[in-house]
């Protein structure tokens, strides 16, 4: 008996599993870096988070009688990203609760893979920040071979990451060291305090480069997001609105992790090219506003979450239909 299937009868080598596990693969160097900086607890929290995400998805699909696809890779990504967004000396239940919220509330209740409005990992982070603010934003530990702020002289004086130093109205001395090339180098390598996966710009860039080359993420979103942050903080730096240079801004905090791995999430980013540029640029502007004037030292997660809400609107920006 012959098979009767609709055209086309060939497909490209790209498929969901490859995309999802490609992203997981791109996150592995970052994870190894965080183990190097923060010790084995980083791996422990990450594993817990992934297990919680997969288990939540499995339970949900089991209970609601859907196809079990908890191992398609998307839950693993969510798990890793949630863990990357928490400090390393968090209690063990923090990533577990975060992943549960991300997968159950943000992803599955909205219809599962492909239907969620918000990036699950970011929404999970937002939930954790709102529920346990002290654990999420005031609970930093320095990396094993470095200092919390990345500047040796200041460490004894203040318990702050580079970004939170900025919000404390620092003196000229501090600002000078924040703007120094050694500071930028430390930030680029990632040997400072911060969430598990956000510190090393270098490793994040390596992973993202792999995604861009494989076509598993769109470089336009990352470029427009990080690029607009760079340009706006650059202008502000010259105008004197922010005391630190734009390079410091894009390498500190979660800009790299957010711009390279979270804003580019396919499900929650626009489908048109025009939409993606707008998504990235507006996200960048929001991020700078939140960072410089809002209560939290960081603005990346909320800027992306807010832009996620605009995706259905941006999807209406259809390019003119051929010949119309």
């Amino acid at each position: 008996m012959l098979q009767l299937s609709p055209a086309p009868h060939i497909t490209s080598p790209k498929n969901i599993k490859k995309i999802m596990y490609g992203v997981v693969g791109a996150l592995i160097p970052v994870l190894m870096g965080s183990i190097y900086f923060f010790g084995w607890r980083a791996l422990f929290l990450c594993s817990l988070s992934v297990l919680s995400a997969i288990f939540t998805e499995w339970i949900f699909q089991r209970v609601t009688n859907r196809d079990i696809r908890c191992l398609d890779g998307s839950a693993i990504i969510t798990g890793i990203l949630v863990a990357f967004n928490i400090p390393v000396n968090s209690p063990w239940w923090l990533p577990v609760v975060g992943s549960f919220f991300a997968v159950f509330i943000v992803k599955q209740l909205f219809g599962g893979l492909g239907y969620n409005i918000f990036n699950p990992a970011l929404a999970g982070r937002a939930f954790l920040v709102a529920s346990w603010p002290s654990l999420m934003t005031g609970n930093w530990t320095p990396p094993i071979n470095g200092t919390l702020s990345g500047i040796p002289v200041l460490d004894g004086m203040t318990q702050a990451t580079p970004l939170s130093l900025l919000i404390m109205k620092p003196n000229l001395n501090v600002i000078q060291s924040l703007n120094s090339p050694t500071m930028i180098k430390t930030l680029f390598i990632g040997n400072t305090g911060g969430c598990i996966g956000e510190t090393s710009a270098l490793l994040l860039l390596i992973g993202a480069l792999f995604l861009f080359i494989m076509g598993y993420a769109d470089w336009r979103i990352s470029l427009s997001y990080i690029g607009s942050i760079f340009v706006i903080t650059g202008i502000f730096y010259f105008l004197g609105v922010t005391p630190v240079n734009p390079v410091f801004h894009i390498f500190s905090g979660g800009v790299m992790l957010g711009g390279l791995f979270m804003a580019t999430d396919m499900v929650t980013s626009p489908v048109t090219l025009k939409g993606r540029w707008i998504f990235g640029i507006c996200g960048g502007i929001l991020c700078v506003i939140l960072r410089l004037w809002a209560g939290y030292p960081e603005g990346v997660s909320y800027s992306i979450l807010i832009m996620n809400m605009f995706v259905p609107l941006l999807d209406r920006l259809q390019v003119r239909i051929f010949g119309r």
Binding site: M1, L2, L4, P6
Partner: protein, 274 residues
């Protein structure tokens, strides 16, 4: 004291202003609604099946009030609704002749064999566009578009991949007739019991190849019945319901048909409880 009184005054003033504004606009822009439309809407089934020709129940209700549709136009509601609507409209309506949908194909998985292994979207319409996965190009595809479409859950898929009408629930609304890409459903009067369950215009050779109970165009049923109630359209027998008062007239065809394509509605699955 003033710090309490001033807000009270301001808020009270705002409330008063909006209250007056709302009263004014309610009077000024009042929409007059025909009371009968509301009443008719209440008695209609409210499932927007569209069988009456109107886009939905409320449109039908309005249409009836304006004389665009007949008072017994609601197919889904049947006799009961027709009587109620007639009462609201203050007219008399004659009811009678309930109808039911029949599925005119016997080609389940055993009778009509699959000839290809279909891998595509699981709707009859899509499969029909590809030519179908069964040998018969007129017969049921068995993917259940009708089951999905029926607003009354009156169609169910049988064990062998052939849908059947649950007559208890069928209102003869005609949604299945429009849904089936192969036009296998027909609305007939409930007084008819025997019907021809095949729509294949294929010649005898093809039918024999693809189906064991398809009409082979032998013309026997035309010969054994009287008054031209059955005629031939190419290789398919056609029953003329308008010429049949008494369903017994079809009994010779039921008995003589060599491939048992005539069947009794009352003996089908789905008619058991009626």
């Amino acid at each position: 004291m003033a710090s309490i009184l001033i807000p009270i005054g301001i808020l009270g003033g705002i409330a008063l202003f909006f209250g007056i504004f709302l009263i004014f606009s309610a009077e000024r822009f009042k929409v007059t609604i025909d009371e009968r439309v509301v009443k008719i809407q209440e008695v209609l089934p409210g499932i927007d099946c569209g069988a009456c020709g109107a886009p939905g129940c409320s449109a039908f209700a309005e249409g009836v009030a304006h004389g665009e549709y007949e008072v017994d136009g609601c197919k889904a509601g049947g006799e009961e609704v027709a009587l109620q609507v007639a009462e609201i409209m203050g007219v008399v309506v004659e009811v009678g002749g309930e109808e039911v949908a029949v599925h005119r194909c016997l080609g389940d998985n055993e009778v009509a064999k699959q000839v290809a292994n279909y891998k595509g979207i699981s709707t009859c319409v899509a499969l029909h566009l590809l030519g179908g996965d069964k040998g018969c190009q007129y017969g049921c595809l068995g993917l259940g578009d009708c089951v999905e479409a029926c607003p009354f859950d009156a169609i169910d898929m049988g064990d062998k991949g052939l849908p059947y009408v649950i007559e208890e629930r069928c209102t003869a609304c005609g949604v299945c007739v429009r849904t089936c890409p192969r036009e296998l459903f027909e609305i007939i009067s409930k007084k008819h019991d025997i019907f021809l369950a095949c729509c294949s215009y294929d010649d005898v050779k093809t039918v024999k190849q693809v189906c064991s109970r398809g009409c082979i165009g032998c013309t026997l049923c035309v010969k054994v019945t009287e008054d031209e109630i059955v005629t031939m359209d190419g290789d398919l027998a056609v029953v003329h319901w308008d010429k049949i008062d008494d369903n017994k007239l079809l009994e010779p065809a039921l008995e003589k048909c060599p491939v048992n394509t005539y069947i009794k509605r009352s003996e089908l699955k789905g008619a058991e409880n009626v």
